[in-house]
Structures are given as structure tokens and as C-alpha cells.
């Protein structure tokens, strides 16, 4: 009797990771990688019974091939998107999951390093961050996978009281080649009083069918400020998974402005730990979906210290058969008195077949806490559509104007006015084409 069964995906991936053998880096990292492979192979991928993955199917990930190692992945062959900022800004390119050389010259007081170099300079900090990542259980399978493949990475360090300006990271994958699921890790280390604007732009070649598994870990010293802007315009064939963890000390500020305008399967996880008084974390995001695209935002803020503030502000526009997920959690621990938590998630369904799952989770164990939350899923205000039409705007134009205004609440949160206008334009052009209420189709010119 033949007892051999086809290898499962997890087995195949685990085997491929073991076959890669030891990767460069210190001994502790090698041991941790091995442990991560074991954890991954044991827990397997999350499924519908995994609470945090209930609404996000992992099918898209199953189509991908195991990660490859080394830098022979066609770095030169990738067409990069036009930079969001002026071309002379400090810019780092990631092509097919590999850091493109050479790295830009960093301003005074700032280091921009590849992981291997960064490990030599900041091993203690990086070790602490790498070991902090939870590898256990199926809900952490992708974190385990990322740790198991930890080879490609970027380390950014900003010295005390240095204002580093903007750093733009462009992620692009090529249309050709295997559909690999590439891991990448970013470390952002901001000393006390340091400031950094960290921008990410995701845009691959038109038919690229790859996956990215990105972990970003930031540490903010006393009074440090990290601005994080992400504009994602991947083709529908791309799969993107990101996980951002921010460790915050007293008086530090973190702000996220995220725009998902593309991608087939996209999931962003965020975790902020407010470990010092008066820390502030602000997550604002918008997404525009059509066809069968999927975007999932999972935000979790841990108020572990008094007088901290956090905000979650997400808006979604869903057309076609698309699906959106928002899960916003805030934990206010005992003793974190005087905390303030604001949460708002509003969604606009443009199609009968689109679906939005939104779930706020507030857990409050402290006193004198200010907390507000609201979630809505609705349709365009037909009175407003009619009002605009009576002024001469076509049905389609009226709907676009209203939908665009809905997302503007998020683009307006970008401080840089020129960038805000540019992103708003990108959001507008990502709007689903066939808006409802226009069933009569294009009218003949009269």
C-alpha cells in the first residue's frame, strides 16, 4: 500500500526553508530562524477558525511559491514607479523583495543600512526587536515565516534630536519569474527627540504575481516622532501582507496615513505599544476596492501608560465583489488613567455584492478614560446625488465627486499639502468605474 500523500504547502515551504541552510548573521539569529521554521511547520497557515483571520482567506497565499534566497532575483529588471516625492529625496528601492544597491547617502545623524551591516552596528536593539516577534500559533504563521527567512532587511537609525526629513521606500516586483512570496524586514530606530517621515510606495509591474511579507518594527525614543505614509497601488495579481509594530516611549508620536488603491489580497496589521506617558499613535487609512479585491486592516493599540492618546480613522469604498475588513482594537490597561481613544470606521458600498466586515474592540481597565467609537457601512446619499445633478453634473460625475469627498477626510490628514493633493488625485483615479445608479449607460450626445 502506498502511504505517501502529496506534501502540504506548509511542508513544502518548511522543507525549502530548511534546504536553504544557514543564512548569514549571528548564531542567535540562526537558532531563532530554525525555531521559526519549526513553529511555522507545526502551526500551519491560519484558516477560518483562526479568529484574527476569520474574514480574510489565505487562498491567495497558497498560490505563491516558497521564498527564494540570495540576490539573484532580477533586481535590475523591475520597472520602478514614479516617485511620490521629488526624485532628489532620499530613496530606497526594493525590487522583488531584494534591497537594491547602492543605498542612498544618509543625511548627518542618520544611518541607512542593509540588514547585515545594521546587525553589526545595532545588534542589541535588533536582537531585542527580532526576539519580540511572536512566532507561535497559526495567527502568527506569517511572522514565523518572515523570521525563518530573515535575510533581506533595512535598518534606519536616527540619532538624538536629529530631524531626518523624508525617506521614501519604493516596492516593486517584476511581471516575469516565479510567483515567490518574499519576506522583508524594516527596522526604524529613532532616538530621543528624533524625527523621520517614512514613506512607502508599492507599485509593481502590471501583471506581477508575487507576494510580499513585510514586517516593520519601529522604536521611538522619548519625544521622537515618526510619520508613516503608505500608498499602495499594486496590480490585482499581487498579494501583500504587512505588519507594523511601534514601540513608543513618553511623549513620542506616531502617525500612519495609508492608502490602498490596488492589490488583489492585501492585509495590514498594526500594533502600537504606548509605554510612556503622553505617547500618541494615530492610524488613518483609506481604501478603494473593486472587482474581487480584498483589503484587511487590523489595528491594535496597547495603552500601558497614563495620559496617552490613540486614534483609528479608516474609510473604505467598495465596489464590484470586493471585500473589506477592519478590526480595531484598543486595550487600556489598569493604571493607564487619563487615556483617550478615538475610533471611527466608515464605509461606502457602491455595489450590492461588495462586503465590509468591521469590528471595534475596546477593552478598558483604567479610570478617567475618554473613549469613542463608531462604525458605519452605507451607500451614497441619493439626495446629495440629486442635488448635484440639478446643478448640471452628470450622474457619474456626481457620484464620483461624493465618493472622492468621502476619502478626502483621510487624504486631508497628510500634513504636506502638495503630497496630500497628489494622493487625493491617485485616490480619485482608483475609484471603481461602473458606479451604480447609472444603469441607463452612457447617453447619446444631444
Amino acid at each position: 500500500m502506498n502511504t505517501s500523500s502529496p506534501m502540504t504547502l506548509v511542508d513544502r515551504w518548511s522543507e525549502s526553508l530548511r534546504a536553504a541552510g544557514p543564512l548569514p548573521g549571528p548564531g542567535w539569529l540562526q537558532r531563532l530562524r530554525e525555531r521559526a521554521v519549526s513553529e511555522f511547520s507545526e502551526s500551519g497557515l491560519p484558516n477560518r477558525k483562526t479568529e484574527s483571520w476569520k474574514y480574510t482567506p489565505v487562498r491567495a497565499f497558497e498560490k505563491l511559491e516558497p521564498p527564494a534566497f540570495g540576490s539573484d532575483r532580477g533586481v535590475q529588471a523591475v520597472v520602478r514607479p514614479q516617485a511620490l516625492l521629488d526624485a532628489d529625496c532620499t530613496m530606497v528601492d526594493i525590487a522583488n523583495g531584494v534591497l537594491a544597491a547602492p543605498l542612498p547617502e544618509a543625511p548627518n545623524g542618520v544611518s541607512i543600512l542593509a540588514l547585515a551591516e545594521g546587525m553589526q552596528r545595532y545588534e542589541i536593539q535588533l536582537k531585542r526587536l527580532i526576539e519580540k516577534v511572536d512566532l507561535e500559533g497559526s495567527s502568527n504563521a506569517f511572522a514565523a515565516l518572515n523570521t525563518a527567512c530573515l535575510e533581506q532587511g533595512l535598518v534606519v537609525h536616527v540619532s538624538e534630536n536629529v530631524h531626518a526629513g523624508a525617506l521614501l521606500m519604493r516596492w516593486a516586483s517584476s511581471a516575469g519569474g516565479a510567483s515567490q512570496f518574499q519576506s522583508f524586514r524594516v527596522f526604524l530606530l529613532l532616538e530621543a527627540g528624533a524625527q523621520l517621515d517614512f514613506l512607502e510606495q508599492y507599485q509593481s509591474e502590471e501583471t506581477a504575481e508575487k507576494g510580499l511579507n513585510v514586517i516593520i518594527q519601529a522604536e521611538l525614543g522619548h519625544g521622537a516622532a515618526l510619520g508613516h505614509i503608505r500608498v499602495q497601488s499594486e496590480p490585482e495579481s499581487m498579494t501583500l501582507l504587512t505588519s507594523t509594530s511601534i514601540g513608543q516611549t513618553a511623549d513620542s508620536r506616531y502617525s500612519y496615513r495609508g492608502f490602498d488603491l490596488g492589490g488583489g489580497m492585501v492585509r495590514h496589521e498594526f500594533e502600537a505599544e504606548l509605554n510612556g506617558p503622553r505617547a500618541f499613535a494615530d492610524f488613518s487609512g483609506a481604501f478603494v476596492l473593486d472587482n474581487k479585491r480584498h483589503v484587511d486592516n487590523h489595528v491594535s493599540v496597547d495603552h500601558a501608560s497614563p495620559d496617552c492618546r490613540s486614534e483609528q480613522f479608516f474609510r473604505g469604498v467598495l465596489g464590484g465583489r470586493s471585500r473589506g475588513v477592519f478590526n480595531g482594537r484598543a486595550l487600556i490597561r489598569t493604571g493607564a488613567d487619563g487615556s483617550s481613544v478615538r475610533q471611527s470606521n466608515a464605509n461606502l458600498l457602491l455595489s450590492e455584492l461588495a462586503e465590509m466586515d468591521t469590528k471595534p474592540e475596546l477593552e478598558i481597565y483604567a479610570d478617567e478614560v475618554e473613549a469613542s467609537h463608531g462604525a458605519t457601512v452605507g451607500r451614497l446619499d441619493e439626495d446629495a446625488v440629486f442635488y448635484l445633478r440639478t446643478r448640471g453634473l452628470g450622474d457619474d460625475q456626481a457620484r464620483r465627486m461624493l465618493t472622492s469627498a468621502f476619502c478626502r477626510a483621510v487624504t486631508e490628514r497628510i500634513e504636506d499639502r502638495a503630497l496630500a493633493a497628489k494622493v487625493a488625485e491617485m485616490v480619485d483615479s482608483a475609484m471603481p468605474g461602473g458606479l451604480p445608479g447609472n444603469s441607463a449607460g452612457p447617453k447619446a450626445e444631444s
Binding site: 446619499d381 439626495d383 440629486f386 442635488y387 445633478r389 440639478t390 461624493l402 469627498a405
Partner: protein
């Protein structure tokens, strides 16, 4: 300009207009008065093309065209303007941006070049002053957080910019204090011209002290029950709508015919 014949319309299956006739010539100002529920707002909505207002019989001819065949935006581009009784708040849409987009949509329809923001600002500046509209209001979202008076002034301001051939003012006086009423009326009067017709729909006579109509019609139970000159409005004010409903129409008709 506008000819309505035997118009019947239902809202949610309920008959509201029951054989309304009305003829408005170019340059004329007509007032339509009537008690609540007579169908005043329905008339405005049917002319503007709001969904849910079903025309079951009759016709509306506007400049020789069958108006009921046109989409709301086509009616607007053909020169019809409805000043809303309750202007809609549109969060996130800047007032200036919206109005320029609307004007340009109409200009495009008529084959005229679109205006850039500089040309547009030049055009609107003078009109803002007449209606006492501050720059600040122009930079806010359409009607969002506007006071009742500001909303109505904004409607008349839009009318001044869009320069319609037929404007329907639906209870534009409601919710206005006497000063705001004067400003709005002044804004409307400045727009009276030989080429522009205006239909003023109102419950009260007081607006007509400021906008003096050429013709006054009484709308009751879905039909024009009586028509006359400006003096008819005064008569109504004096007697009240109850008197009208209790058979006063006959007497009124006699007087007017006389």
C-alpha cells in the same frame, strides 16, 4: 418658455398633482401659493426630475422640448434651476470647487469653453457681494454647517452664477429672518430679465412684498384653483387658506374674472 398641461403625478403611489396646468412666458415671475400638502414642492421636484416622483399623465413642454424625457442634469444644462427648500449638506465637497464643476458641466453641454479657477473667481466675486456671502463660505463644504439663511443665500448665489432660463424657488423664504429675506429677494430681483422666467413657490405672502410677481396661482389639491395678479396674494393673506378650502375659491374666481 414653460407649458404644463394636465399634469398628474404620484409620490409613492399617492396622487399629489391632479391635472395641473401652467403657462409661464419668458421674463415673467409667477408665484405659486397654497396650503401645506397642496403639491407645491412636488411641482418643483417633477420639473427638476427627482426620482420617486412619477408622472402618470400630462406633459411638460420647455422651450419646445418634452422636459420629462430629460435627465435632471440635462434639464439643468438646458437652463432649469431648482432652489431647494432644504439645500443638501455635502461634507468634503468644497463649495467653490462644486460650483465651478457645475458651471463647467453646463458650459460644456452648450459647447462653450470651460473656465479655469481664475476666470471663475472673477465671475463670482461680484455676485458674492450682492448676496453678502463671505469668502469663508466659499471655501467650506457645500452647505455643511451653514445657517438656514446662509443655505438659502447660497442657493440664490448658485442661481446667479449658473444663470438659468427658468428658476424655481421652492419655499426660499422659509426659515429666513427679515434681513435675510431682503438680501435673498434683492439677489433674485437682480436676476429678473426678459429672458429669464422665475417661479416662486411659497406658503406666505411676505416674500412677494419683495419679489413682486406678474402672476399669482393658488395651488390646492393638486390643481391650480385660481390665478390672478399680485393682488391675489394679498387677498389670500387676508383670508387664509382655510377660507379657500371652505369654498372661497368660487368667490375668488368670480372676483378675479370680474
Amino acid at each position: 418658455m414653460l407649458e404644463i398641461r394636465n399634469l398628474h403625478a404620484t409620490v409613492g403611489g399617492k396622487p399629489i398633482l391632479k391635472g395641473l396646468d401652467l403657462k409661464v412666458d419668458p421674463g415673467e415671475v409667477h408665484a405659486i401659493m397654497g396650503p401645506n400638502g397642496a403639491g407645491k414642492s412636488t411641482l418643483g421636484n417633477v420639473i427638476a426630475g427627482r426620482e420617486g416622483y412619477e408622472v402618470t399623465a400630462g406633459e411638460v413642454i420647455y422651450n419646445g422640448k418634452d422636459l420629462l424625457e430629460l435627465e435632471p442634469e440635462e434639464r439643468a444644462c438646458e437652463g432649469i434651476f431648482l432652489a431647494f427648500q432644504y439645500p443638501v449638506e455635502i461634507p468634503g465637497v468644497n463649495n467653490t470647487y462644486f460650483l465651478r464643476a457645475a458651471l463647467n458641466a453646463q458650459r460644456k453641454y452648450r459647447g462653450e469653453p470651460e473656465l479655469d479657477s481664475m476666470q471663475f473667481l472673477k465671475l463670482v466675486r461680484a455676485k458674492l457681494e450682492i448676496l453678502h456671502i463671505s469668502d469663508d463660505l466659499m471655501h467650506r463644504a457645500v452647505n455643511e454647517g451653514f445657517s438656514g439663511g446662509e443655505k438659502k443665500r447660497n442657493e440664490i448665489f448658485q442661481m446667479a452664477v449658473l444663470e438659468p432660463r427658468l428658476a424655481i424657488l421652492d419655499e426660499t423664504d422659509s426659515g429666513l429672518d427679515i434681513d435675510a429675506l431682503r438680501i435673498v429677494a434683492e439677489g433674485v430681483n437682480r436676476q429678473r430679465s426678459e429672458k429669464r422666467s422665475i417661479i416662486v413657490v411659497t406658503h406666505y405672502q411676505r416674500l412677494l412684498d419683495y419679489i413682486v410677481p406678474d402672476r399669482v396661482h393658488v395651488l390646492a389639491d393638486g390643481k391650480i384653483a385660481a390665478s390672478g395678479g399680485a393682488e391675489l396674494a394679498l387677498k389670500l393673506e387676508e383670508q387664509g387658506y382655510t377660507w379657500l378650502e371652505q369654498g372661497g375659491i368660487q368667490a375668488l374666481d368670480m372676483e378675479i374674472r370680474a
